[in-house]
Symmetry: C2
Subunit: 349 residues, 2 copies
DNA sequence: CTGTTAGCGCGTTCAA
DNA sequence: TTGAACGCGCTAACAG
């Protein structure tokens, strides 16, 4: 690919062409002590104007760049990096959360380290371990493993742990979640108000905390209205894949098919839309999670501010740094129903 | 929010409840020297089995976690973190690239630091500076400033710089870009083959390298077919916003409106779709960038593997670490036309 | 205003 | 197989 000189023997090119300048190098060139250079670099100290200029000049000539690693080490080994651990990086939901975190951190001069566990519960602890070894300032995590008790020690050591989207298991930690029950219940109530009595719930993959919560919200709203035979309209597929489409087909093929369908997550939302789109049979539909073009397509959804979810998580992590021993907090990000048409289709008479 | 004891006076809670254990602490508890603990932690040295066990036990008791900062500092101040600098983190395109980078890095035990410039050309150098101070191993960047010459020094110092999506200005660097011209040309040829002669090009915001390249591809394919009066069908809006919709409306209101439209970027794709969707007038349409539901909606697009774009960028950065002085490389990620219907609509007779 | 000493946590060198 | 001394680059504490 590159040259033929690559190999295991000699690798002179591994060395940079030019050594990186250190504080001492700058000091030598400027004819001052290292500490003076340090002062100039930190900015906030009193240094004679002409000394400062000499130092700045020398630094520029040598392309000096302060070594944050060494600085942090000297300061007790803490960085200003916050780690965000997610399962599947290709899920746009996580991406937006990451955007929120990054933005909030940026306002405080901190950066975000993004790591993924590839949705493998077993790798969570390994990934987190690597991050902690890098002395991240705080940890924001979408829990995937069934047990986060391994983090208890870190919390005590002063590293804030904030869980996003779902609470931790066997660990006392701050968390930011959605108003899952309320959101689902609001959607169901809206459908009931439009006259629906047979309402389906589709979710795939299902099994997570969020899905359970939404299912609870769905059920409670139905019970409120005196509807009790909802179980036959629930389709929660544990495995990922095109099963949400199948679930919808399955529901609509029933003797008494539902006249409205609610999706329990973003994947199921688009999957259900795929299946319902272009069907002659008019079925009301409300998705969970807003998505691109949903407005143009007239798809009603339960929406929420994903960016804000991330920002709030970052804020919690940072405030926890200032108050490590306060009681754990759980913030709920509001959900709201956006009516665009698909959720307002009346039941077939 | 938390307690009333917060304030500027006393902040005893700022200190962790328990000091972090160091190599020396473990050594003391295990009754060995620090170096022995170091050996056990590094794994690959010869230590007596019983000594190893004692050390491991002590480390676990003290919740010892090796300090990567110190380790890296000792090793010459290099981390195994690669920084990825983007403009707007909410653009799904960048997100997928980030996913690719993260995945590729993960296979080599490296992590990704994500930073954003908020599309402000002036902040690029500042952000990059912070990252370099953290001694990132390599830099992957979507250039936004009009000049990247400030990075020349770093390159010489051995920090690989890889540009993504567009090449750097005034800097010799590796880059990974899309087959923009070919992709656009293929789309136009396909439309011409279907009988179209009046083909519009919409792009908003426009002005970037990618847009120019795609415009060139569009023009060249038209010229190939002997069509020369394309300029009146070009709508490149420099500012972001809902101008793509306006451009489409504008085009269709012409005396001789185009019978087909091509979008120059992902924002314009969805915008154009919004405008064309539900119109009685049948207009052929091909978007640049695939998007969620495009398949279900029958939207033809010029697609490419965004994840692969990111992976390739990461691979380039890492290979450049091994061969700092090789000639700069530019890799093109292939684009391909996906025919789903919207691009195959024949011209109105 | 500036310099000196010491040490953050770890790994390398060399000796035992 | 194990340990002692030194240094990575930087800054806090104390001089001067």
């Amino acid at each position: 690919m590159t040259t033929e000189h690559q190999g295991e023997i000699a690798a002179p090119s591994l060395e940079p062409l030019q050594a990186r300048a250190t504080l001492a190098d700058v000091a030598r060139l400027a004819g001052v002590s290292a500490k003076t250079v340090s002062r100039v670099m930190s900015g906030d100290d009193k240094v004679a104007a002409h000394t400062r200029e000499r130092v700045m000049g020398a630094a520029k000539r040598l392309r000096f760049r302060p070594n944050t690693l060494a600085r942090n080490l000297r300061h007790g080994g803490v960085t200003n990096t916050v780690a965000f651990v997610i399962g599947d990086i290709t899920n746009p939901f996580y991406f937006n959360v990451a955007a929120g975190i990054e933005r909030e951190l940026a306002t405080r001069g901190m950066t975000m380290l993004l790591a993924t566990t590839d949705d493998a519960p077993g790798s969570e602890a390994v990934v987190v371990d690597t991050l902690l070894a890098q002395r991240v300032r705080a940890l924001i995590i979408v829990p995937i493993a069934s047990d986060q008790s391994y983090l208890e020690g870190e919390r005590q050591l002063g590293t804030p742990v904030v869980c996003v989207d779902r609470p931790a298991h066997h660990l006392v930690a701050d968390s930011v979640v959605l108003q899952n029950r309320l959101g689902a219940a609001e959607a169901v109530r809206s459908l009931i108000a439009a006259g629906h009595r047979r309402i389906g719930f589709v979710c795939s993959p299902a099994g997570l905390y969020t899905h359970q919560e939404r299912l609870m919200g769905y059920r409670s709203a139905l019970l409120e209205a005196g509807i009790t035979d909802y179980e036959r309209y629930e389709r929660l597929e544990p495995v990922p894949g095109p099963t949400a489409e199948e679930s919808v087909r399955d529901l609509l093929a029933m003797d008494e098919p539902p006249t409205a369908i609610i999706a329990g997550n973003n994947r199921a939302s688009t999957a259900a839309y795929r299946e319902l789109y272009g069907r002659a049979q008019q079925v009301a539909f409300i998705g969970f999670d807003d998505f691109e073009l949903a407005d143009a397509l007239g798809v009603s959804v339960i929406a929420y501010d994903t960016i804000e979810l991330g920002r709030e998580a970052a804020r919690m992590a940072l405030s926890r740094l200032e108050d490590p021993n306060g009681p754990p907090r759980q913030v709920e990000i509001p959900t709201y129903l956006i009516k665009r048409g698909s959720g307002e289709i009346p039941p077939r008479s």
